[in-house]
Subunit: 263 residues, 3 copies
């Protein structure tokens, strides 16, 4: 049963790179029956915030028992730890640099272990490619039924990013831009819960000096080329442009502040 | 048997995006034994014509019983319908916006059904991501053996694009540019059948003011950097540049007119 | 057993293209139980040197019995041969244009055969897409247990590229740039063996007029934005920039000369 587990790969390697290819080779050697899926490889280079969001928005769509392996790892080979976590019947393998922030704040988060046991790494470990030599190997052994506690000691203070928190100030919700996708949709940290009590017709969204009145339901609610705000498919507020690219037009970037105001 | 069916995904999400990743997660939850293949995710954003051509040129290379799921869906969440079709032992799941034009004109096209039955959608449907919540779910249930007629009512007037039709005018065949690929090959709607009776040495191809004499057999028939015309691997006339990029050089775009003339 | 073999695809088609999609369709028709992996599809267009290096650095990470299919094929349809090779329990299917240079210099290289038998091609072969009609078909039949010698006659002089050879001149090792990856890491043909006896602290690396003192162990050994030299994850000397892009900054390209000097 365990051998058939799903292993999902996320990285900033760029699409269809040899780096993801080699990780799959390592998994296939150790766990020939694992089902390997590309979760996302278009995470912007070195961008841990986008990586954390992408993983956080995707993992629940996979079956229980899935192993999520994410590599955005500018500190590879340095003192940063490598970890394995179990959250609500899903497993996560990653560098301890904030990538697991969203699953780790989940109330069903179990114990977290450091990946240190050399038995579950490749014999030679490159200081520049833990993705292949440590993480892919660990994910593969995990899919074969090796218990997480066999990989190393329990740790209690994994790194969690702060950027996913929003603020309320009277009739204003203040948030931040997390990332933009390939359509140019600007995704924020303001969740549908943050504005669930707001009348969609009476709210306005301000980002980079641009104010959008009202909340749309889908992209084609407005004319081609017009900006709109809506709750995106991951449950967060997005600023988009119908058949256009909002991120390019507004020159938005990670961390830009955004405000939702109720009239 | 049905559980092992092939599901092929095509989209304009860009390569290795989390959107395709989540669709695979949904399929894996519902149909763990389906064999998932990326058909193409580099369809230009919102470009239904390119999407229709890419699907139309690819589907016959997959085995009978394959389910083709294609999402280029600027109208997602609006009144446009979602459909399922069966053509010559292949299944197709898509928005009803012209993407299925090429299979649907096939003489072995069977009945077409609307995807409406909430039983075969995810419990929560985002108005911006039918690909995940409606289409991936439907494809997965279909691969489990659910009959197409269970998904909704029969429809009789699916949208078909007009752009794939060519014209004959004396010794001239008039066509249009459909798309260009990542090599810069300019692909047209003029099929090998349209010019099957023409002597390759006595024909000329004119596009964007550039005239190419004769029909080549392969790219290296001409010197590096030279333009040529040939019948591409999908059976349509292409204008290419040996080791170069014809689309960039000629600034061609979808819909540009092209003429084949016999001397 | 053979039907479950791994087939790894490498190409310059660009990520998630319909061309790779169709190759997978062909394989799935002939060998439904083959396990298909994307090895790399981001090889620069027409770049046989990068393709040869990418394959050469990846193949050993896959299990014995794996079939590696690589297509970078500007000469498709011309007189260049199509070949199949067996090296140290791995199979290779490719055009005979130098792509297999690195496995072929291996001492455990077995006999090489030309792919000519029409029985193992698609019925119609396009002169512009051997990847689909000849190579994918051959790889699929090979995975079903067809013996390599059934595909065609033995050949003895496959094309091997010269660029992977380095020179020693006193206390200087002279090499060349092979490629740069999507992070902008500049990868050279100087292997860890070439400089294994050198004291990392007493060496300097010169490329495009820039000299880097000492050999680092990992990217974060230097400050953000600083250049460094290290042995990359494939065992070759790389010039990199911490959280930056060395290839863009140095405007390096394939074939540029690089020198390692010992003080």
């Amino acid at each position: 049963m365990f051998g058939f587990r799903t292993i999902v790969l996320y990285s900033d390697f760029g699409p269809a790179s040899r780096y993801a290819g080699m990780m799959k080779g390592v998994i296939r050697c150790i766990a020939p029956e694992a089902f390997i899926i590309d979760g996302a490889h278009d995470i912007p280079k070195y961008d841990i915030i986008s990586g954390a969001f992408i993983l956080g928005s995707a993992w629940r769509y996979f079956p229980d028992g899935t192993i999520h392996l994410i590599v955005v790892d500018p500190g590879v080979g340095s003192a940063r730890r490598s970890i394995i976590a179990c959250v609500d019947s899903h497993f996560f393998v990653a560098p301890d640099n904030g990538l697991l922030s969203l699953p780790l704040i989940h109330k069903k988060c179990g114990p977290i272990f450091e990946l240190k046991n050399p038995e579950y790494r490749l014999k030679t470990v490159s200081d520049t490619f833990y993705g292949r030599d440590v993480f892919a190997s660990a994910a593969a052994y995990l899919s074969c039924g090796i218990n997480p506690e066999k990989f190393g000691e329990k740790i209690i203070n994994p790194l969690k990013l702060d950027i996913f928190r929003t603020e309320k100030d009277g009739n204003v919700v203040k948030g931040r831009v997390i990332m933009s996708d390939s359509f140019g949709n600007i995704i924020t940290n303001i969740s549908s819960d943050d504005i669930s009590k707001v009348n969609p017709l009476r709210m306005s969204v301000t980002l980079k000096g641009k104010t959008i009145e009202g909340l749309s339901r889908c992209y084609s609610d407005v004319a081609e080329g017009k900006m709109l705000a809506l709750i995106g498919s991951s449950g967060f507020l997005e600023v988009s442009c119908c058949k256009g690219n909002a991120a390019t037009q507004l020159k938005s970037k990670t961390g830009d502040s955004i405000k939702v105001k109720v009239k």
